[in-house]
Amino acid sequence: MSSGKKKSWRFEIDETRKQEGLIQIKRAVQEKKVRYYPSFLACLIEQLRYQTWSFWVLQGGMLVLALVLIRYLNLPGGDGEASITICSLFMVLTGNVCLSGVSRLFSWHMAELEQTLYLNLRQMVSIQMLLAGMIDLAVLGLLVIFCGGRSGAGTGAYLLYMLVPFLWSDILYLHMLTALRGGLRGYRQLSAGVLSGILAVFPVFVEESYHLEYLMVWGIAAAVGIGVLILEIRRLFGKIEGGEVLCLN
């Protein structure tokens, strides 16, 4: 611990006082009950072990679909604007499908059960979101790299066109996880999907929305979306922590 350069700053310690202190420490050690706290990585590996085969099939399926879509959109004679709309719809779909892992944690009294069993719901939700985020990023990366350049909008603008509907659909989805925990819970996934789809297609109905002069609007929508998404995640964690939505009985 010490540098070894100078030892003159060390003076004699009162051995009696030191031993008294060490005895107190020894007492605390005897009373101590060591608990096992797994690291975040250990939790992640554990969660991955318990994912169902349908989860992996679904994630793999989304990636394969993304590749098929890229192949189809890269065929000669494709329409740039249509390609953006299709890809943004696909991104929204991927976001919803990937977040279904989070949705499962909140479905049909599952959250209550998990909380009652003293499972760390916050950690479980974080890990599910991390997994969903990784697949989303992979799909987004593939679409931007392979379709971004050919759309005529430029890679940066293309990224924004993909990101905005994706961000807002995720916000909507996460909000519904806690907002629709009543009688409408059965329709939650469906309603989130439909609303997100409308959100993604909406720019098609606004004339010249994919033109460069509106890029600033897309930028603002993306920045606000990131902010709202962070707030929504905080709200979700707050609900889990506070338990005002989850009925603990």
């Binding site: 611990m1 010490s2 540098s3 070894g4 350069k5 100078k6 030892k7 003159s8 700053w9 060390r10 003076f11 004699e12 310690i13 009162d14 006082r17 030191k18 008294e20 202190g21 060490l22 107190q24 420490i25 020894k26 605390a28 050690v29 101590k32 060591v34 608990r35 096992y36 706290y37 690291s39």
Partner: protein, 184 residues
């Protein structure tokens, strides 16, 4: 046995190794608390409290740098020591009989030992003149051998702030001690 292995054994349930950790780092933590608070008596309590807190939180501790972690606990305790007790540090507190004990050491062990003890007293009094943050940084860097980046992580200050605190602290110490080659 290295620190990583000690922590691993403790976290696997062999809590008796906590005593080994306390024995290994007791002196280092004690000296730090003494120089930070200026009170040799209160430093014993603060050192004990440092290890009690470590014992309380050892389950969730992720090994990185054990002495650094212990010093960070001690540093926070020393900060709240002044904040909560409302005490102000004026000078290094010597216990009754220290001087006679030192003289006794001199007669028994020779003059070199006595010089060392006197040097520690002069140094301690000079350190007491430094602002808290500067003293903290100087202690960790020059006495405990931590790099600026490590101190920044431990104290939560920026790298530039730590560097500046160390430089300013050393300049002040040199002025106070009037020994240009003290740390050379």
């Amino acid at each position: 046995m290295d620190d990583k292995e000690l922590v691993r054994l403790v976290q696997s349930g062999q809590k008796e190794y906590l005593n080994e950790i306390a024995g290994k780092y007791y002196d280092d933590i004690y000296y730090f608390c003494t120089y930070q608070t200026g009170s040799r008596e209160d430093a014993y309590d603060l050192t004990q409290e440092t290890f009690l807190r470590f014992i309380r939180y050892v389950d969730s501790y992720r090994y990185r740098n054990l002495p650094g972690y212990l010093l960070t606990i001690a540093m926070n305790l020393c900060r709240s020591y002044f904040h909560e007790s409302g005490r102000t540090r004026l000078e290094f507190e010597y216990r009754e009989g220290d001087r006679s004990k030192d003289n006794h050491k001199e007669n028994r062990d020779g003059s070199v030992q006595m010089e060392g003890l006197e040097e520690s007293q002069v140094l301690a009094e000079a350190l007491m003149q430094l602002p808290d943050m500067q003293r903290e940084a100087v202690l960790l860097h020059h006495f405990y051998g931590y790099k600026n980046r490590e101190i920044a992580r431990m104290t939560g200050a920026s790298y530039a702030a730590v560097k500046s605190r160390i430089n300013q602290g050393i300049d002040k110490l040199k002025d106070l001690l009037d020994k240009e080659d003290f740390y050379e």
